[in-house]
């Protein structure tokens, strides 16, 4: 009827192409009879009756009646809902409970606890670093205090030294001034003495000048 492709391993027909010279529509019932029943039942199981195909394929085939099929192979039930559905659903729910009990909850809890422990340890490490920070702060405070003390002592010393220096300076100045005053006094005395001496000399000198100028007196 149709040229068939033969598979190398099997002698069964693989694919068949339609013959180019198809029989007229009138011969369809005969052809339908010629359709192997296993294939038909397969079609039926896929809930596509040959009739439906015929309807879909060509309107002229719609009226073609199809004879009853012999059940050479059992009907293939792809969409065959039965007790399997609730059974699998129940199995799934039981599996869920079982896995929850032995896997999800315990292992999840274990992992969370381990996470928490690691976090806590990390926290501890952070705490020690805080302690270190505190110690560092303490050290800084001590350093600051020491520095303040030193600078205070320095200031004090500076002040003392300055005061001493000023005292000495003042003393020295006083001394110098005293000496100066004494020197000035002495100088004045000497000047007065000199002036007195000069006065007496001047009298003598003037007497002499008068004698020389007026010899005849």
């Amino acid at each position: 009827m149709a040229p068939t492709l033969m598979a190398s391993s099997t002698s069964k027909p693989l694919l068949s192409t339609p013959t180019p010279n198809l029989p007229p529509p009138r011969s369809i019932p005969i052809m339908a009879k010629a359709i192997p029943s296993p294939a038909r039942s397969l079609l039926k199981s896929l809930s596509i009756s040959p009739r439906t195909i015929a309807l879909g394929a060509a309107a002229s085939l719609a009226a073609a009646p199809l004879p009853a099929l012999a059940a050479e192979i059992e009907k293939a039930a792809l969409f065959d809902f039965n007790l399997t559905l609730p059974a699998i659903a129940l199995e799934f729910l039981l599996l869920m409970v079982a896995l929850d009990k032995i896997y999800f909850t315990p292992l999840g809890k274990f992992m969370d606890e381990r996470d928490a422990a690691i976090r806590a340890q990390l926290g501890d490490v952070k705490d020690t670093s805080e302690e270190v920070k505190q110690l560092e702060e303490q050290a800084a405070a001590i350093m600051k205090a020491a520095r303040a003390e030193i600078s205070a002592a320095l200031n004090k010393m500076k002040k003392e030294t300055t005061a001493e220096l000023e005292l000495k300076l003042a003393e020295g100045r006083k001394k110098v001034e005293q000496e100066l005053a004494e020197a000035l006094e002495l100088l004045e005395k000497q000047r007065e003495e000199t002036i007195k001496a000069l006065d007496s000399q001047i009298a003598a000198l003037s007497d002499e000048i008068v004698k020389k100028v007026l010899p005849t007196v």
Partner: protein, 247 residues
């Protein structure tokens, strides 16, 4: 007109060569109800892997983690980050939900790609990732809806329903529709991706036996991881969205 023979032939061809058993289930009868045994079995294996590895790794936690404990601590941190990013500061109670969602989907998806399920022959159907059954993905999506309703109601009381008329009452139908599209898109995205992924690998393996499917397998691993992440992230986002304050 040639659509019928073409598509049917193709489908049949693919079906025949790959031996892909799409939608084939091993049924167990419990009372009047049926159950997909292969999904249940693989989900038990996935749960056993999860619980076993968790118990071994986290039994005796050390302060300095090694090996398994390290890995599971990383996973827990990843889930916590994810929840925190989507939900915000009050993410704590939601970690088990988001985490279980992520781990269950991730291990389921990868089990489909990595565990040699096909070695075990079932009388009917075959073992595969639990997430390639629509029942599983819906069973994961519905609790998500319940979870975000619960989150919103406990956080804001009945004031939670005010969000339906915000920012304007005109959006009421769309807002209500959203509550249906959210689980729908969640479940169908996961289902479609994983199913398509496994189909592509199986088909490619049957077509080209050797090296070619390997990149696709790696792509499958990548997609599986992404899908788990998307599912968990969206679940968390929905919860966060219903908890956040509307002003």
């Amino acid at each position: 007109m040639n659509v019928i023979p073409c598509s049917i032939k193709t489908l049949k061809g693919l079906y025949d060569i790959s031996g892909v058993e799409v939608g084939q289930h091993l049924y167990w009868q419990i009372g009047a109800l049926q159950i997909h045994a292969q999904v249940l079995i693989t989900s038990w294996v996935v749960i056993a892997i999860l619980l076993g590895s968790v118990i071994i790794a986290v039994r005796n936690p050390q302060t300095i983690p090694t090996g398994g404990q390290n890995f599971f601590e990383y996973v827990l941190e990843f889930i916590r980050d994810l929840s925190k990013a989507q939900i915000g500061e009050e993410y704590g109670p939601w970690v088990p939900f988001i985490g279980t969602m992520f781990l269950f989907i991730f291990v389921s998806n990868w089990s489909g790609a990595l565990l040699p399920w096909k070695i075990v022959q079932l009388p009917h159907g075959e073992l595969a990732a639990p997430t390639n059954d629509i029942n599983t993905t819906v069973a994961l999506a519905l609790p998500t809806s319940v979870a975000y309703f619960y989150a919103g109601l406990t956080k804001k009381g009945l004031g939670y329903f005010r969000k339906y008329i915000q920012p304007t009452p005109i959006l009421l139908p769309i807002n209500i529709l959203e509550d249906f599209t959210k689980p729908l898109s969640l479940s169908f995205r996961l289902f479609g991706n994983i199913l398509a992924d496994e189909l592509v690998v199986v088909v490619l393996v049957s077509l080209v036996p050797s090296l070619v499917p390997i990149p696709v397998m790696f792509l499958g691993l990548f997609t599986s991881g992404i899908q788990a992440l998307i599912f968990a992230t969206l679940a968390a986002a929905y919860i966060g969205e219903s908890m956040e304050g509307h002003h």
